[in-house]
Amino acid sequence: MTKQLDPALDHDDYRSNDKSDLVRRVGVRSSLFNVKNKLVGYGLLLPAAAVFILFFYLPALYLFYIAFYHWSILSPFQQFVGLKNFRTLLAQPLFWRSLENSLYYTIVMIPAITFLSLGIAMLLRDGLSARRGGVWRAAVFLPHVTPVVATSIIWVWIFNPHFGLANAVLSALHLPQLGWLESTTWALPAVMIDSLWHSLGLYVLIFLAGLSRVPREIIEVASLDGAKSPRIFRRIIWPLISPTTFFVIVLASVNTWQAFSQIYTMTGGAHGGAGGPAFSTTTDALLVFQTAFTYFHFSLAAAMSLVLFLIILALTVVQKWISDRIVFYR
């Protein structure tokens, strides 16, 4: 058959020619496009990277240097003192007290953050319609975008032992009134409540993203398989969101070990009383700040930061080690 007599063949021929040509042209253009694209990408990164290098990474590296020197902001002469700063630090009861406070704060905060935000995320996912769900999500996330210092001042009023909302609620429930920020027992828990309120939205959002990756059919199959909600949660949802949970725990531990603004503000930082009463809210991060900027022991503060850094690093390594054994990655 000649070409003319076989329209189907003719058609195919035409198409294939056209296609290979097209592929060639697109190929050339896309490689040029890639190079240009990369340059643009790095260009856009540059401002942010510059800020980070200048104000985060260089100072962080400089910290290692300061920690091994007797370093004074007023003196041009800095003396190498080896581990002396660390020895001083470990001999200080207040340093140990601050570690204790930080540990207490973290140990309460991490489970509280994890379980509360997961719980709220589950409620938002299951219990609410798509449209109203958006409103609730916004409501939960909103505290996170408010300035910590400003809202912490509001919380100071809420925790006022004489006319604050917290005690009003307790008395309405016929519970004993608490001293809150004026009590050595309840000051840190009061800070925890503020921190939870402020940070939960972020973790809820992360969990919502994690939950949305659990296919609906899997949960439906499990329910047809006879599993009730607790079993579905324990055996299906919990393992499937374990990467998200792990991420939340790491993020929460880093954030809580470094918690500063809300503690400083709520415990009277503006009046110089931060960390009180009686050092009951002096966490590691707060002590670093006070050592450096109230007492001007920069090298001691640097050594302390280094210890804080090592603790967080160790925690993360341990968490990673655990996660490699129990977290399920698809």
């Binding site: 007599l5 189907a8 439906e220 499990a222 329910s223 398989d225 009730k228």
Partner: protein, 391 residues
């Protein structure tokens, strides 16, 4: 084993106007294999999910046997379900996937192991028992999903497009496995697909749905031979039936592309309404060689070479109406794009539909009449409307 009865079943999803299901009445016998077939969005999955108890109906009743199950939770309906994307538990091994349901229901250990062996054997999954889903091929995953649905000895087996993620060969193989499983187990099965071949090969009965309504319920054979209406006629078959609307005015038009013999002309004149619709399957059209009671003059637009035959797309050769026809013709018929040809079909292969209700009215002749009809028209074009031969 359970019979399923759906009565005036209705489902409306909140917010949007219109309903996903609009009064479904269906009786599924104990042990029957019923296929729900229809275009995307017609409500197949919704029907299945209502039977499974994954959705709550907004109206009507669902019965398993004699008892109404509307208020019964899915997990208490004793159902096995297979989804299109397998929905295996990704963090569990094949064994754990299979046993999860039995463990949830507190079946004792010895029994679980016994049934596990049974299922692994039946679906030849023995070698894969320790693997996770991501270490399985698509076909193996689907076998695990089948096994997981069957290990609980369900009284109702539901499948929602279980094969559509598989490639053609595997699909055929799994289709046969499903047919075999049903022959052995005889579980009442509702199977959703939009693949006609699956429907025709697997079903005892096919339910054709469109826009939330049942169009026809019948055996595969009858669905093809006696479509209830134009929708079914066009939907069943690959490609579906050609349906031509012939207005009464055309009967006296000398330029009409249709030639209709006396008998057809008569029946059209007698029918109510201003037009009739005639349906002819692509495989029932042939190049005219004299003696067909209906002939259509049309122009070839596109030819698809399918190996066994040509699939020829044509356009009715007329200024007054534009109507497309598909015909399956012999590979050696020698037509080319642009040709004007005359196609015809014997009367017993031509379906009539009501112009307004679109319901099937029957065929122009039954099989025995065919001989008579061919006989009386052969070589005799003097009755009826004349059309110039083009070939």
């Amino acid at each position: 084993m359970t019979a399923i009865t759906l009565e005036a079943l209705e489902k409306r999803f909140g917010g949007t106007a219109g309903s996903a299901l609009d009064g479904i009445d269906l009786e599924i016998a104990d042990g029957e294999f019923v296929v729900l077939l229809g275009p995307s969005g017609c409500g197949k999955s919704t029907t299945l999910r209502l039977i499974a108890g994954l959705e709550t109906p907004t109206g009507g009743t669902i019965r398993f046997g004699k008892s109404v199950v509307n208020g019964v939770e899915g997990r208490d309906r004793n159902i096995g379900m297979v989804f299109q994307n397998y929905a295996l538990y990704p963090h569990m091994t094949v064994t754990d996937n299979l046993c999860f349901g039995l463990k949830s229901r507190g079946v004792e250990k010895g029994e679980i192991l016994k049934r596990l062996d049974e299922i692994l054997e039946m679906l030849s999954l023995g070698d894969l028992a320790k693997r996770r889903p991501r270490e399985l091929s698509g076909g193996q995953r689907q076998r695990v999903a089948l096994g997981r649905a069957l290990i609980g000895r369900p009284s109702v087996f539901l499948m929602d497009e279980p094969l559509s993620n598989l490639d053609a060969n595997l699909r055929e193989q799994m289709r046969m496995e499903i047919a075999k499983l049903h022959r052995i187990l005889r579980i009442t099965t509702v199977y959703v697909t939009h693949d006609q071949v699956e429907a025709l090969t697997l079903a005892d009965r096919i339910v054709v749905m469109n826009e939330g309504k049942i169009q026809q319920v019948s055996s595969p054979r009858r669905l093809y031979d006696e479509p209830a209406n134009i929708f079914v006629a066009r939907f069943i078959g690959a490609p579906g039936m050609n349906v031509l609307r012939i207005e009464k005015d055309m009967l006296i038009d000398p330029d009409s592309p249709f030639y209709l013999d006396e008998q057809i002309t008569q029946s059209i004149v007698e029918s109510t309404g201003s037009a009739v619709r005639l349906g002819i399957r692509p495989e029932d059209l042939a190049l005219h060689n004299g003696g067909f009671p209906l002939r259509i003059r049309c122009r070839v637009v596109l030819i698809e070479q399918l190996g066994t035959h040509l699939q020829v797309h044509l356009e009715v050769d007329s200024d007054k109406l534009s109507s497309n026809i598909i015909a399956k013709l012999d590979v050696n018929c020698g037509v080319a794009v642009g040709d004007v040809v005359t196609l015809g079909s014997p009367a017993h292969l031509i379906h009539r539909f009501d112009d307004e209700t679109e319901l099937h009215l029957g065929r122009l002749a039954n099989k025995s009449e065919r001989i008579v009809s061919l006989h009386s028209t052969s070589g005799d074009n003097s009755h009826g409307v004349r059309i110039g031969e083009q070939q």
